[in-house]
């Protein structure tokens, strides 16, 4: 498996990024805040209206280091990418499959299977780890409900029905999500998903985590030669990285949600890391983002065992491994796409 390099997150919105030899230099006014060798980086992500020099953009484009611009709260704005890498054949296959209802629903089915399976085991794990702190009966019941839905999903070859099944499961999952918050209950409550803008702290973090994960799956897809914008479960819409969202489904719970829950439960993140705007939108402060991002980096370095490849790898490489497996399936080397099923 390939090596994992670091992602550089630039959190200060008044910073300026420039190229100096093989280094990226982060400046504020005329003061140099930091210097990082570019060959150590697999990507650069900036938050807020950070500036970047054309020379740096050129370097990034040429060397396949995606440079991504996000808003302060992690909403995607733009990205500098170079020539897309070879393999037109693979992309054409991807488009053909995306146009084919049957093939699309097969892939969509596996993405959703992964999502539901991984969420089910999150519930199971919580009942195992905190039996005295949660309503075990309710968790078990929901887990069994998920098992039944898994069978239905496995047998379903119709995209619309699949989306329906996914929706039903999501309702149950969201109802238990708040129960998995075991610390700082007064400050962190989850009453359902809100986005654009997120209306509470938990949602602010979930949105942020999802956009980071989408960036990672998108970059992984492009690294293996796939088009991140053409999906199977999510259909094309201008500017939407549909395939990255598809691939992300199976990782949402096990990766992003679990990460957010642990930040709260370990009290790494606290109420003071958020502010509320007049319109009700809840945002992370600069300090909050800093804590969040450095934990995110750490999480990416944790080792796991890949359930299908049976290889030890860092969490951060899982999106890449899945993208690779998806490409292998589309090329006809694997008869089916092996979803990341984590227990």
């Amino acid at each position: 498996m390939k090596k994992m390099l670091n992602t550089l997150f630039v959190n200060q919105s008044d910073a300026y990024l420039a190229l100096d030899g093989g280094n990226i230099v982060v400046k504020k006014e005329d003061e140099i805040l930091g210097r990082v060798p570019l060959h150590n980086l697999e990507g650069i992500v900036t938050f807020g209206y950070t500036g970047a020099s054309p020379a740096l953009m050129g370097y990034c484009a040429e060397n396949n280091v995606p440079l991504t611009f996000m808003t302060k709260n992690g909403r995607f704005l733009a990205r500098v990418i170079g020539e897309s890498k070879g393999n037109v054949v693979l992309r054409k296959t991807q488009y053909r499959h995306s146009d084919c209802e049957i093939q699309s629903s097969r892939l969509a089915r596996n993405f959703i299977l992964g999502k539901v399976y991984n969420q089910k085991w999150m519930l199971e794990r919580t009942t195992r780890d905190y039996p005295m702190r949660i309503d075990v009966a309710r968790f078990k019941e929901t887990s069994q409900y998920f098992s039944r839905k898994l069978i239905e999903i496995q047998e379903c070859e119709d995209l619309e029905r699949l989306r329906g099944l996914e929706g039903k499961v999501a309702v149950h999952y969201n109802q238990l999500f708040d129960d998995m918050i075991l610390q700082q209950k007064e400050d962190f409550m989850f009453k359902g998903r809100s986005r654009r803008p997120p209306l509470d702290r938990v949602n602010a973090m979930l949105s942020f985590a999802y956009s980071l994960l989408a960036r990672d799956t998108g970059a992984a897809l492009e690294a293996v030669g796939l088009d991140a914008y053409v999906g199977f479960l999510h259909r094309e819409r201008p500017g939407r990285i549909s395939l990255a969202l598809d691939l992300m489904e199976e990782l949402r719970g096990i990766y992003a949600d679990r990460f957010v829950l642990s930040l709260i439960n370990m009290k790494v993140i606290q109420a003071k890391h958020f502010i509320q705007k007049e319109n009700g939108a809840v945002l992370m402060t600069e300090e909050g983002r800093k804590v969040f991002l450095s934990s995110w980096q750490k999480k990416k370095q944790e080792m796991i065992q890949h359930p299908y490849l049976k290889e030890k790898m860092m969490w951060g490489l899982v999106p890449y491994a899945q993208a690779l497996l998806l490409a292998r399936h589309l090329r006809g080397d694997l008869e089916e796409y092996p979803t990341f099923l984590y227990k």
Binding site: G86, N87, L90, K310, R328, E335, Y337
Partner: protein
């Protein structure tokens, strides 16, 4: 009119990859997926040589040309010769601006030492075919020079060897035309393959995906 673009020729150096593993060749040359240690390095290598491409040297009965661009229309390949020595020979061909007749001899420089496989010989023979077409002559010998042993080895470029090159290149062209990447065929060569990370040969000996999915989902 049939315009042929320069980039529609296959790279001659690909013969080595193809000989090593057809899938590796396809991943590099059809799909342009490569890892740092293969093509990019090779690219830089070629660049350096191309810079002094017109380098010519005259010794008493020899004309030495370095970094010469070559191609074959019949094989649809193009590439470079490290060195072509034009040796005076009354049975040779004329070169513009030179009074004598010459016999072209390709010399290929290799890092390392002579290999067990035959890829270097095949590459040399392919260069000879290109030179034969470009100079309208017969080439029956060439040299391989190995950096580690500092020795040049004479290679007889027989018709049989050239026939073999033609067969290989025909296959390469047909794969390229169909954009066909052969499936994984694992072997000891995978151990030293620079594309392992992309090819994932060990996937082929895993349990099938449906078995994996079933097993997990039933847990």
């Amino acid at each position: 009119m049939d315009y042929k673009q320069d980039d529609s020729y296959l790279l001659l150096s690909g013969i080595q990859h193809f000989q090593f593993c057809p899938r590796q060749w396809a991943l590099i040359h059809i799909e342009q997926q490569w890892e740092e240690n293969s093509r990019t390095v090779e690219g830089q290598h070629v660049h350096k040589k191309a810079d002094d491409s017109s380098a010519r040297e005259k010794r008493k009965d020899k004309l030495i040309v370095r970094g010469m661009a070559i191609k074959s229309e019949t094989l649809n390949i193009s590439g470079q010769c490290d060195v072509v020595e034009f040796v005076e020979d009354s049975a040779g061909v004329s070169l513009y601006g030179n009074p004598s007749l010459y016999r072209p001899i390709p010399v290929e420089y290799k890092r390392g030492k002579p290999k067990v496989g035959r890829e270097d010989e095949l590459q040399l023979a392919a260069q000879a075919i290109c030179l034969e077409e470009m100079f309208l002559c017969q080439i029956t010998e060439g040299y391989l020079y190995y950096n580690e042993t500092k020795h040049r080895h004479l290679v007889l470029l027989s018709d049989a060897l050239k026939q073999e090159v033609r067969a290989i290149v025909t296959k390469m062209n047909s794969y390229y035309h169909r954009r066909y990447t052969p499936k994984v065929k694992t072997g000891p060569h995978c151990k030293s393959c620079s594309l392992q990370n992309i090819c994932l040969p060990e996937l082929m000996v895993r349990e099938s995906v449906s078995e994996y999915m079933e097993r997990r989902l039933r847990e």
